[in-house]
Amino acid sequence: MSVLVNDSTTTAAERPPAKAPGHRRAWVFTIVAGVIALIVNVPLLNAVLVSFKPDGEIAKNPISLPTSPTLDHYANVLYASGYDFPRFFANSAMIAVGTVLLVLVIAIPATYAIVRLNFGGRWIISSASGLRLLPAIFFVVPFFILFSTLGLADTIPGLIAANTFLNLPLAIILLSSALGDIPQEIEEAAAVDGASIYRTLGSIVLPLLAPTMVAVSVLVFIFSWNDYLFALVLSTSSATPVTLGAANFITSTGIRWGDISAASVLSTLPPLLFAVFAQRYLVSGLSSGAVKG
């Protein structure tokens, strides 16, 4: 069995070391990647800069570093503005983590049943994907009515359900594509050994799917952390997430640039931490390691 596994799933996480480039050439890639990373992050870097500037300086010195840096905007976000941001953050965290878990619990077994056990057939994947094609606005009012009926309006479980709804297609598409890449022989070998379908799924398939599960988790976490429209309609006060809380700095007398920048910077940190944590699995290419182990 180990021969079979090694043959078919050895991967090229890194470029073949046989052709390992010289040290100097490697630094070229560091510089290129650094420049690209800088460019795509200009808006966020600007937000970081602005978040430390007093109000007067924001309009005055667009590019310079803050001459008298302030933490006022962070204070406003965290406690001073009268908005309960710590709770908004807790709500967002519960919503995002809950959504990740629910999406995985629903999508993994179902995708396995669809792809491997021919359950329902591809039309389920197709229709699930089709759902994501509909603008969220289409569902906003029906969801609202449904949630009021079920008592889920303005609750964390309600927003978890809504975000699961939005992100299931993503998970099913990515998982079914990954499942397609896993050679079926492995599962057949397990079946020959007498393992039940559930055990095959749990101990053979899951580890093989791990990198994709991590990728899906990261994406679902990000998307549900960043959801705005559903949160707008489905929460009023007790389930308000950070994205919606930050919008309070868009006032009828203008945008409080410093405060909303600080809120944006802070609200980027949790998904970032999650991705850093998950990155170990993504970058080292868990796929090969897991199978061998």
Partner: protein, 304 residues
């Protein structure tokens, strides 16, 4: 091709029943969730499309195809569809190419790789609704850093003038979402069979040739997945454009989502908004099975 599990000669009737039971049990969470949170909203939304449901008339009386008639009587919907398709095609094409290139670039060891990998993913972690506001500040001609920076090197730009606003929106979308295609393609590259690459290297094939003849074909499902996921989200583009232009000047940057949002929340015509969404769905759904087949090809085709 080896026989698949389903075709194995020793599968008996009990075996098949077991597999069916397992399939139902494993799908149960999805079925229950779909029953509660998909079928009802979908049916209710679809029903709304055939009802008179506005803030002024909440009778919800069936009104046949009135909503659809009013949708097509003015050119707003068609224009929004045209802009959305053009915009989506542009951004998805660019993001696929750049995301693929970035994935290939990052698919090697170099100093600082872990750090830059994370930094490259950072843009998708900023909520689009907030990112739009960040762009409004960054790009502001009076107090924004970018115009000030360009100004200091003698370049005077007006990013939001009617001629430059569409290219600007494309660039902003590419900046935010290339990391997404990059992540998916990169993840796909991680399970790329090494010996294939080595074999093509032994053949003496150039990098470009091994790219087109080995890497792309093998990665096809992943590329399709990245393309599809990005495409369906591009077609739904809303936040950043809405915050920056609200669809204008005129309707020149109105996407379908903005059109539907305005129909529902500004005009208060939920019936017409639902009709518009339904038309979008009906027009796009035929493409879905075609693409899904390609995404799950390796696994699914083996059984046929």
């Amino acid at each position: 091709m080896p026989p698949t599990v389903a075709e194995r000669p020793r599968s008996s009737a009990t075996e098949r029943r077991k597999r069916t039971t397992a399939a139902v049990i494993l799908s149960l969470p999805l079925i229950l969730f779909a029953a509660v949170f998909v079928i009802y909203p979908l049916a209710s939304g679809a029903l709304t499309a055939f009802q008179s449901s506005t803030l002024l008339d909440q009778s919800n009386e069936p009104n046949g195809i009135d909503n659809f008639v009013s949708l097509f009587r003015s050119d707003g919907f068609a224009k929004a569809a045209g802009f959305t398709l053009g915009f989506s095609a542009a951004v998805v094409a660019i993001e696929m190419v750049l995301g693929f290139a970035l994935a290939l670039l990052m698919n090697r060891a170099f100093p600082g790789k872990k750090l830059f990998f994370t930094l490259l993913l950072l843009p998708i972690m900023v909520a689009p609704a907030l990112l739009g506001v960040m762009f409004r500040l960054l790009l502001n001609g009076d107090i924004g850093a970018l115009p000030a920076l360009l100004d200091s090197v003698g370049l005077s730009v007006s990013l939001f003038s009617p001629d430059s606003v569409v290219p600007l929106l494309v660039v902003l979308d590419v900046l935010q979402w290339t990391p997404f295609t990059f992540l998916i393609i990169y993840a796909g590259l991680q399970s790329f069979p090494k010996e294939l690459l080595e074999a093509s290297a032994m053949d003496g094939a150039g990098y470009l040739r091994s790219l087109t003849s080995v890497i792309v074909p093998v990665l096809k499902p992943v590329l399709f997945a990245a393309f599809f996921l990005r495409a369906i989200d591009a077609i739904r583009t809303f936040d950043v454009i809405y915050v920056l232009t609200a669809g204008g000047p005129g309707t020149s940057t109105t996407t379908l989502s903005i059109y539907i949002y305005k129909t529902a929340f500004e005009s208060g015509d939920f019936g017409k908004a639902a009709a518009a969404a339904l038309v979008v769905l009906v027009c796009l759904i035929p493409f879905v099975p075609f693409i899904v087949r390609r995404i799950s090809s390796t696994g699914m085709e083996a059984k046929k």
